[in-house]
Amino acid sequence: MSRMSKVPVRAFAAFTVVAVVAAACGSSSKSSNGGSSGATVKVGFFGALTGPNSPQLGINIANGVQLAIDQYNAKGKSPKVQYVPYDSQGDPSLAPAQANKVVSDGTVAVVGPAFSGESKAVDPIFEQAGVVSVTPSATNATLQTNGWKFWHRIVATDDFQGPAEVKWLTKKLGAKKVGVIDDKSDYGKGLADTVRQGLSSAGVQVVSDSIDPKGSDFSSTVNNMHSANVDGIMYGGYYADLTRLMQQLRSAGVNAPIVSDDGAADNKLLAPPEDKETNVYATCACLIATADPAASAFVTAYKAQFNNAEPGTYSTEGYDAANVILDAIGHGNSTAKAINTYIGAPSFSFKGLSKTITFDSKGEVPGGAVDIYQGKGGVLVLLGEVDKLVP
């Protein structure tokens, strides 16, 4: 009896010690977002540095951010900026842990979160801790409705991308029965739903389906498309899944044109055996730098720093987002609040590579140009702006 009563007491004592230590740790991290530690300011990248979509939709952007920071530091201004990468794998279930790390590290601003799903999960954390976030690529339209003060976005939302895809499918490709497939993610499904609504309003028949991007066999979806005899397909999701879905669709004889989105707007979409594919289009509210002569200095600098790798989707936007933050820091703002006030001011205007950036009261850049690319010879070729090509 006496032995049993010792255990609960010891356990209780241990628990109390742990609780006190945890409370002490917790409270000390809240005060560390005030500003720079010493003479460096931490600016981070938040997105998929590992994981299946990371090479083209995470590392590309992170490189743009790193390049911008290195160029800034080379100017010799003070305080210096330290680049801190945070790998969320683009996964909304893994992102919150990284977001907490951002807060405890004292990072004042992040470029990101890169994906919409993880944005939904971690932007509340950033908002509560007062960390500035400028996303170059999370396009889900509902993100702006949350009333976040520290959140900013520099690309057009899916509210613009969705209708652009509908326009392309109905007016340019003349499809009457469209299969709309999504990957069940916040981003893919959100965009696909916008397209479904747009198509129905345009009087086009819609055949809905979805795939699990973690799986490899999409035969039930393929059979559905085949038996429904669709003359157009829209896919909401990322390039790694679309390239497999495309291969299976074409193998089964489904040759309808496929229109997809910025998650698929990457040359890896057309890796062999899909390199001969020309009946695929991707919209993007982004500028793929290698397709624009005005961005050639950026391309050269990028290649020089990253082992001859070419900038990819959203590299330009990542670069621009970082430079927005760096502009604020260069003007003497080194705390998260000061940076946020500076870039949120109506008079703030920054000429980036992709566009001139100024934020409205919701944190968005007004205007919404969407470009469209087509597969040709194993790469994506820029056709132009959707609104200009299909009036």
Binding site: T221, N223, N224, P272
Partner: protein
């Protein structure tokens, strides 16, 4: 329901094809469980390693477009052999490093399970770091000729190859386990390891051969998967592994024929269910099916275990 009828034959054909791959991978799970009572969670990565071996073989042979005739058979054989070699060696090394030390020390089955999960993550990340996380695609090796059609189901050469190969490998494995001395040793160890030792069975060798065979089956599945789906990635084993393990349990864990049957049943159930309720319910349907079968027949469809296979 309308969809089920209009897509019945295509669902059947595709269900059997994907089910054959599930079945081949399930053979690995069921063998190891039958002998060691261990769920080898790293088996999905053994499969993934096989797909990478197939990728590298095709690159080494410089295959960039379709082959026909004798060259095709040659290429396919080489790919299958390379995958089998890679997967079985990986399986044997895995056993040596992750499980045997625990067996030696008489560790609990929980420890072995944790080791298996750890090995699974380790192998995934190893390949991701070494070969990149991006999807790797294969050139088309086999021409996709239509052999015949049933209703709206099209049986192509690819699908036929997968199904027939899976069936053939299962038959060969079954013969090995029931007719050879080593196979008898496997069955004896599955029935009663201590008595088997007394009867002169070399347990270490039996375990090694079990892993080798399971790995070889996964290698064949990997080669077929590569030829048919033409892509791989460091995490390709995950979902397949879960479904294959489900198939093994469904058919009766420890039962070889059950593993293949379970695989086919899951493949069919998935596709039929998807045609009725939509593809988003695919996985739900497989697992609900599993639960129902286990409720009414807890030992699985074929029930019998490895030790009681007829000789």
């Amino acid at each position: 329901m309308r969809h089920l009828l209009t897509q019945f034959w295509s669902s059947t054909v595709d269900g059997l094809t994907v089910g054959a791959i599930y079945g081949l991978i399930a053979l690995g799970y069921t063998l190891v469980y039958g002998v060691l009572k261990l769920i080898n969670f790293a088996h999905s990565e053994i499969f993934m390693i096989g797909t990478f071996a197939a990728l590298f073989t095709l690159h080494a042979l410089d295959v960039t477009h379709q082959q026909t005739g004798v060259t095709l058979i040659g290429v396919l054989l080489l790919v299958v052999l390379a995958s089998m070699a890679a997967s079985s060696s990986a399986a044997v090394i895995l056993e040596r490093l992750a499980y045997r030390p625990l067996r030696r020390r008489g560790a609990s089955r929980l420890a072995a399970l944790i080791s298996a999960i750890g090995a699974s993550f380790f192998l995934q990340e190893l390949f991701a770091e070494r070969y990149g996380r991006d999807i790797r695609t294969f050139p088309r090796v086999m021409p996709n000729t239509t052999l015949f059609s049933i209703g709206d189901g099209v049986v192509t050469s690819e699908k036929a190859l997968v199904f027939v190969s899976a069936l053939a490998m299962m038959v060969i494995l079954d013969l090995f386990v029931t007719r050879t001395r080593l196979g008898r040793g496997i069955r004896a160890t599955a029935q009663d390891p201590e008595t088997a030792v007394l009867m002169g069975v070399n347990i270490d060798r039996v375990v090694r051969v079990t892993f080798l065979l399971g790995g070889a089956m996964a290698g064949v599945a990997a080669a077929l998967f590569s030829v048919r789906l033409k892509s791989t990635q460091y995490n390709v084993g995950f979902i397949l592994g879960v479904k294959a393990f489900t198939a093994a349990v469904l058919g009766g864990i420890g039962n070889l024929r059950g593993a293949l049957l379970g695989g086919l049943v899951i493949g069919l159930a998935e596709n039929y269910g998807a045609s009725v309720w939509g593809s988003q319910w695919k996985d739900v349907i497989s697992f609900v099916f599993l639960v129902l079968v286990l409720m009414f027949r807890p030992t699985g469809l074929l029930g019998e275990s490895l030790s009681r296979s007829k000789a």
